[in-house]
């Protein structure tokens, strides 16, 4: 098979997902859209009745919403790890996964901002954050970095996509005219001249370097929302790296799930191979080890000292009300997956899918464990309040609103991966070309 033929074959394979819309895609899209709309109805109730319909009260004012926000910001960090850290280190195997990681990053980062709005009793006052925001407040920094990260992620998704959009325009003749025109317009009439390739490469390189501090910033600032207070369980100097390392764990799990789904539904076995799963498995082991190390520091050090207020908080986690959730999350969501993934036999698509689901669920619950127990345990005792002020219990409406954000992420990911090739065609082709000519 000549090079031209193999490139044609690859393009056809990768574009199949864009070209064909099968029944299972329609069912899936319909399911997430309807679910999203039902959950949005729950939000209209909250908008009308106020935040009282959620389980959050005066003491636990950050419940599921903010935990979910932290989880979303965390998961979005994977774009930086795969595209920038691995990309700039010249690790070639990650290249086909870069776009998947970028799509996940963009979707989660975009919705993270909306999740914050769902935690607001008066969302129409969102602009006040900018008008009356205090520059000393980590909340303002958070809004700034999240917005910047969304912008960089969008550009980082778009720039390497320009040549591929041109391919879409050229190859996909039977698609609706409007869609084809959008491809044409977005591809900027790409001609593939050396000058254009140079501009794209340089721009992507700048973005890859830029995204590293911004991504570190977005999650470090999110951790500062907690660590800038003196509250038990949050008053920690390692919260920044602790959050960032945790972010890579949940991000890797999200990418593994996406890899599995795309590979199966779009028949990309040739491009997302067992080799990639093996590598992602190793990467997940690495980031999990780092995260485990931070966990050890975060719980062992205060647990050894057991200062007066830490004592109650930690005992609630280790053997109290949250013990089951805490140990379940730590063991099933971190330690056991980490051990299992050490075995080569486990680092295959299906077992890794199961492990990744556990890791991702564990990552979500871990955020809840960081937010809620601390809020239930303030320095000044809680007095003369009803029982539901003392102990946080999420309501159905709150859960539905949280699910809405998850469905929205799924919609964005599904739509994006439907309209653009999820494996960078041009980049792989160029890379192969270059490695041959060397």
């Amino acid at each position: 098979m000549s090079k031209k033929e193999s490139f044609d074959k690859m393009t056809t394979d990768i574009l199949r997902s864009v070209r064909l819309t099968n029944l299972s895609f329609k069912i899936w899209m319909g399911f997430i859209t309807v679910s999203f709309l039902i959950c949005i109805y729950a939000y209209t109730i909250q908008l009308r009745e106020g935040l009282g319909v959620a389980g959050i009260r005066d003491y636990v004012s950050w419940g599921m919403y903010i935990s979910n926000f932290v989880f979303f910001v965390a998961t979005s960090l994977i774009g930086m790890l795969i595209s920038a850290v691995l990309g700039l280190s010249g690790i070639k195997w990650a290249a086909p996964l870069a776009r998947i990681a970028e799509i996940i990053a963009l979707a989660f980062a975009m919705v993270a901002g909306l999740v914050i709005v769902s935690d607001m009793g008066r969302p129409e006052r969102l602009a006040y954050v900018f008008i009356y925001g205090r520059i000393q407040s980590p909340i303002l920094w958070d809004v700034t970095v999240v917005t910047t990260y969304v912008a960089i992620s969008a550009l980082l998704l778009y720039l390497p996509l320009i040549p591929d959009l041109k391919i879409c325009y050229d190859r996909l003749e039977n698609i609706p005219k409007l869609q084809r025109n959008i491809y044409k317009w977005l591809s900027l009439d790409w001609s593939g001249s050396p000058e254009q390739i140079k501009i794209v490469r340089r721009s992507v390189r700048i973005l890859l370097i830029l995204i590293i501090p911004v991504a570190m910033g977005i999650h470090t600032v999110t951790s500062w929302l907690f660590a800038a207070t003196t509250r038990t369980g949050w008053d920690s100097t390692i919260f920044g790296p602790y959050f960032v390392s945790g972010a890579f764990v949940s991000g890797c799990a999200a990418v593994i799930i996406a890899m599995f789904v795309y590979r199966k539904t779009y028949h990309l076995d040739k491009y997302i191979t067992e080799f990639h799963f093996d590598k992602m498995g190793r990467l997940l082991v690495l980031v999990s080890l780092v995260y485990l190390y931070f966990n050890l520091n975060e719980y062992l050090v205060p647990g050894y000292k057991m200062k007066k207020f830490d004592h109650f908080h930690l005992m609630e986690l280790f053997s109290g009300r949250f013990a089951l959730l805490f140990w379940g999350t730590q063991l099933l969501g971190l330690v056991i997956p980490l051990i299992l993934l050490l075995f080569k036999k486990i680092r295959r698509p299906l077992p890794m899918l199961v492990i990744a689901i556990f890791v991702l669920a564990g990552a979500w619950l871990k955020r809840l464990l960081i937010v809620v127990p601390t809020m239930e345990n303030p320095y000044l005792p809680i007095q003369n309040v009803p029982l539901n002020f003392k102990f946080y219990t999420p309501t159905l409406i709150e859960t539905a609103i949280t699910l809405a954000s998850i469905f929205l992420v799924l919609i964005i990911i599904t739509v994006l991966s439907k309209v653009v090739p999820i494996i960078p065609i041009q980049e792989i082709e160029l890379d192969e070309h270059e490695s041959e000519s060397v």
Binding site: G133, Q136, T144, T148, R202, S203
Partner: protein, 294 residues
Amino acid sequence: MVLLVVMLCFQSGIAQTVVVPADKKAKASPLLFNDAAVKDGENIYNKNCVSCHGNPTKANYQKSMSPIPGDPAEEKFQKNSDGELFYKIGVGNAVMPMFKNILSEEERWKLVGYIRSFNKSYKQPPLEVVVVNLLSKTVKLAISYNEKSHQIAITAKGKIKNDTVPLKGSEIVLYAKRYFGRLQIETVKQTNQQGTVLFAFPKDLPGDKVGNIELIAKINDELFGEVSVSKTLKIGIPTDKPSLTEKRAIWNVNAKAPIWILLTYTIGVLVVLSFLIYIIFSIIKIKKVSKKNN
């Protein structure tokens, strides 16, 4: 703190049951225990009593204390006369503080009303004709300061019809007003034959910019009831501390943010923004190159 609790426990061990003089026992409330009074009583109770006595009828009082505070809805409390309850609230018992100088008479009667609201068989005796309040308006308290001896002299005089008489043996309490609440000066003292009482005033109490301190004297007389008078005297140490919100600080408003935060934030945002603008221009350039090539 622990030491204090231990001390208080020991003290309570030797505490006697409060003996109420017969005339106090027979004293009836000048106030009608209507719904409004009971409601006020509840608020006062929740602020001052609930931490030890718990919520009435719930028996959730502090069982570890000695003497055990008990639930005011209990038989043990309700078998007291109104006067006894009023007196006991006023003088306290061992670990229970003396509320005479903390709560006014009216407030203490409202508390009695609240406690009685848990007793269905209780009927308030008919009100006596109250003259105390009318008379009380004619009490005069004079506050003066002796610079040499650092003493505050308070003279209490009452007017009955046209006669002005010194109030002998009345209890007077003196406070200095602070940022939050009042600081009691010495202890509760009784007036002498001339109706005067002397309080040694601390020499090092900070006042405002010029040294002013607002003094509040309160008299609680059998006949004249409760009267308080305030007077501002230049007897404190002039204190002019800059306000915590005067300088640039983390906790201050946006316009007074620390320079380093302003710089870090602004430079960070500008650097990232300039790169992003450069990228946008690069995208425009790609478009231009395409046009040239086609």
